[in-house]
Symmetry: C2
Subunit: 210 residues, 2 copies
DNA sequence: ACAAAGAGTGAATCACGGTTCACTTTTTCA
DNA sequence: TGAAAAAGTGAACCGTGATTCACTCTTTGT
């Protein structure tokens, strides 16, 4: 036996894998999973098509991993918003929604790919998994708000899903008109819509928010 | 010239075209536009693959027509709800949302295909067109409610889009758990979420709806 | 320096599904 | 009835894009 993987090789392989994932991420962010084509990925990563298959068993696996990483980042952002301990559950939720909305609006193709684009069973399963994480995060905040009697009793999961849907549709749906209003105004409006949906009785008759 | 299309032939052709559209509609309703494959359509319609092309120039055209017809039906349902003159704008809107939600929940695959599934440019353009009709209908009701001072000033189009998104996501998104609650309860809940999103100050402190 | 083992390559292959077209069948009318 | 015109057929064709594989290049330990 005259060969055993050494650190140098391991590092190079790790680097190549990173380049593959990076290239894939770029393609998806630019034009969705439909643009994730094996020789495009290879070309952008600077390797041969065949080499891809030394790193990922098949396209499904690669796509699922790209999806997983991308969603992880998004979920982390939202989680961080919800962990700030310096305000009430409802404000934190509002902040998280706003972040979610702003990030979606800044990278609409990516957001669409993660939220809605159908790909294949493996990715759809990943999507389900991370969707659950998302929904759980929001739902958890909703539950806290309920416990704190800031909003009335309701199914937190359903509300959470509805809020994600409202934001997604308004910002990246087919009718999302590009930047008629400035970014911040539009995300604020839609966030307010969501929060009001949860919490009718915390708002005064003049409609002023918390 | 020893041939000119006669009534008999015309009728038969019309019938065949109907069968093609019917078969296509079934396939889409069962598994989305991805299942709209030319030889599947032909088989279900009981004709040869080649014959399809005597009726539709290509798949794009067929898909667009299937989409158009299906959406027309849905839009009509909603329009009818909004035309009832016997109640206030907000009640009508609520009724329309409820109808939209119930129909989506009963045929989720079809709803998904019409609302979200990406197909091809021709269909996407149709989608944009009918989405606009949809949004306009809801937005019109929202505007009326604003004029009647039932809800505060807001961008009716944005609210309308958000409501459609909330319903779609909650009912047919990847997290749409099948029938945990009875149909009516779930559509009612989500409808209420939407209406509250519009109209904070019409609700009393107890959270009772109009 | 050499041989074993893995890593890298990219042209060839394969699967899938839309489209075509040479052919058959049906319809119409003189 | 016969010939023109159209309708119907389905196997062959084609483009696209994932996957394979026979080959070359690198790396490693003796």
């Amino acid at each position: 036996m005259a060969y055993r993987e050494t650190a140098k090789v391991r590092d190079r392989k790790a680097l190549t894998e990173q380049r593959i994932l990076q290239a894939s991420h770029e393609l998806v962010a630019e034009a969705g999973f439909a643009a994730l084509q094996m020789n495009q990925v290879a070309q952008r990563a600077g390797i041969a098509t065949g080499s891809l298959y030394r790193y990922f068993a098949n396209k499904e696996t690669l796509a699922a991993e790209v999806f997983r990483q991308a969603t992880e980042i998004e979920v982390d952002h939202v989680r961080r918003c919800l962990q700030q301990a310096d305000s009430c559950a409802l404000s934190r939720l509002e902040h998280a929604l706003q972040t979610f909305a702003e990030r979606a609006l800044k990278a609409p193709k990516l957001a669409w790919a993660l939220i809605a684009e159908p790909v294949d069973p493996a990715v759809d399963q990943q999507r389900l998994h991370y969707r659950l994480q998302y929904a759980n995060l929001f739902a958890c905040a909703v539950q806290q708000a309920i416990d704190d009697q800031l909003i009335p009793q309701q199914d937190p999961m359903l509300s959470s899903t509805a809020m994600v849907g409202a934001i997604a549709e308004a910002l990246i749906g087919p009718l999302a008109q590009q930047a008629q209003d400035p970014t911040h105004a539009i995300t604020h409006t839609i966030t307010q819509f969501c929060v009001r949906g949860l919490a009718p009785f915390r708002y005064s008759v003049t409609g002023a928010s918390l």
